[in-house]
């Protein structure tokens, strides 16, 4: 069969790949607020005056940056699963919760992204001149306001290049979730190539879609950086 009818014919595999693509996009997009948010919290804790807190947060980052992403995902995924089992055993079967693979995937990716992004957040928090917070405080702003209204808006510009890198890592890392029974783009390609014995075609198509992603992300990142740097020479 020609490649065109294999993809777009009446029994073509394009719809499956498309569904996989949507899952991949959803996985990455849903992970962003959790992963980057947790990373910011981690970064704030790393700058805290308490030494034990700092050490614990640094250990977290060192651990998850020092081991393969695939292993991190497995640890979080199977760790969650066994933890749920232990809890169910302790609390009785009424508490047994079935873990949704997609949710577990988002949690696992968030754990990794939090570790990566916290370093970028720390660097950009340090890049905001201390005078900004001092001035805001002396104007009588509440600490919460100091952070939300003065510091946070200035973080984005500095953090953007690093965050862009982490975003590309994240999009590519979603492919690892395919090994955990989430039917993302790569898993869809695997299914299609197993059924048709045409792996080159389907993995090639998946690679093409990933490539489009990363090119679009690159263009979008350049645009955002240009916009954020308006007014800064």
């Amino acid at each position: 069969m020609g490649w065109f009818s294999l993809l777009f014919g009446p029994d073509g595999w394009a719809p499956l790949l498309l569904r996989g693509t949507v899952i991949t996009i959803l996985l990455s997009v849903v992970t962003v607020p959790f992963g980057f948010g947790a990373g910011l919290v981690l970064a704030l804790l790393k700058l805290s005056p308490s030494r034990p807190v700092r050490v614990a947060c640094d250990a977290y980052t060192t651990f998850f940056r020092g081991i393969p992403d695939l292993l991190s995902l497995f640890i979080v995924y199977f760790g969650l699963q066994s933890l749920l089992n232990v809890l169910a055993r302790l609390l009785g079967d009424a508490w047994r919760i079935e873990m949704n693979a997609f949710v577990a995937g988002v949690i696992a990716l968030s754990v990794v992204v939090a570790a990566y992004s916290s370093e970028v957040w720390v660097a950009s928090l340090k890049a905001v001149p201390p005078g900004q917070a001092e001035a805001a405080r002396s104007l009588g702003l509440h600490p919460k306001q100091v952070f939300l209204l003065v510091i946070l808006p200035q973080l984005g510009r500095v953090a953007l290049p690093g965050m862009g890198n982490i975003w590309t890592i994240l999009v590519k890392d979603t492919s690892l979730i395919s090994t955990l029974a989430v039917s993302d783009l790569l898993r869809a390609a695997s299914e299609a190539s197993r059924a048709t014995t045409r792996p080159l075609l389907f993995y090639g198509a998946a690679a093409g879609i990933y490539l489009i992603f990363s090119i679009v992300s690159g263009v979008g990142q350049a645009y955002l950086e240009r916009r954020a740097n308006q007014g800064y020479a």
């Binding site: 060192t62 292993l71 640890i75 199977f78 890198n165 979603t174 045409r198 792996p199």
Partner: protein
């Protein structure tokens, strides 16, 4: 309560497991080391011509090099690995006819093949960024002094470029060690593969933690070693500062993309 604590302790530590299956992890570690060392060195050899291609003024050379680098950095390594490993099966008659099937039949060689092509793309960008961040005046001055092209490369360009490339190259080595865990997915029994094997047998979660500790100590050791090498090689510059800070250009705007730590530590 005590019961629960015991449950959690058994959940994290299990020394019996280590004494039964520890040797398996060590065996896997050997495979991981082989895959990483071979593909990293081959990738380094490939990276130089690629970087030259990227810098070429001839679009017939620079466009394919750009396409290569964009493809291998823009798609997941797992997808590339599947393309090689499963794709080779599809064109088996052809590979057999050119007597290459023995190579692509083996998951070990497939992993080395895919990882080499992948890391070559990353290393090429590192090398390119480093070469381009050597100030032009250095080369002009060397040429004005009448140095031969070889002498310029040997005494002016590379000592400066390699110092700048050192740190990102170290990050890339760590990146490849981490990425090599993907070999387990195509049935290779590397450290990750042995870990999965033991887990499938025992359903004991702590094997993942032991494996993580091994990976962690390796990546940490390399990162320490790299700090030491960098300090050693840049001691002629401002005392105690990393080369990238002194030579500056690497982190300057516009050049940052060249040293982009896409997979390495951000």
């Amino acid at each position: 309560m005590l019961d629960a604590l015991e449950g959690i302790a058994g959940f994290v530590f299990n020394l019996d497991l280590l004494s039964t299956y520890g040797w398996r992890l060590l065996q896997g570690l050997r495979i991981t080391a082989e895959v990483v060392l071979i593909s990293c060195s081959l990738g380094f050899l490939l990276s130089y011509p690629l970087a030259r291609g990227r810098m070429s003024r001839n679009p017939l050379i620079s466009a394919p090099a750009l396409a290569y680098v964009t493809f291998f950095r823009g798609t997941p390594l797992l997808c590339q690995l599947y393309l090689v490993y499963y794709g080779a099966g599809e064109i088996r008659p052809f590979l057999a006819s050119v007597d290459l099937w023995w190579f692509f039949r083996d998951a070990f060689y497939c992993c080395i093949f895919a990882f080499t092509l992948n890391t070559a793309a990353y290393q090429a960008e590192i090398v390119r960024g480093a070469v381009q961040s050597v100030p032009k005046g250095q080369l002009e001055a060397a040429r004005a002094l009448g140095l031969s092209p070889y002498a310029i490369a040997r005494h002016v360009l590379w000592p400066q470029a390699l110092l700048i490339a050192l740190r990102p190259l170290g990050n890339e080595l760590i990146g490849i060690i981490k990425a090599s865990a993907l070999a387990a997915i195509v049935t290779l029994l590397d450290l990750m593969g042995e870990t999965r094997f033991v887990f499938a047998r025992t359903f004991d979660f702590s094997i993942y933690l032991y494996s993580a500790l091994i990976y962690l100590s390796i990546t940490q050791a390399i990162s320490r070693l790299w700090n030491w090498i960098e300090a050693l090689l840049s001691r002629h510059l401002l005392a105690g500062r990393p080369a990238t800070m002194v030579l500056g250009a690497a982190t300057r705007k516009g050049q940052g993309a060249a040293l982009d730590p896409l997979r390495a530590e951000p």
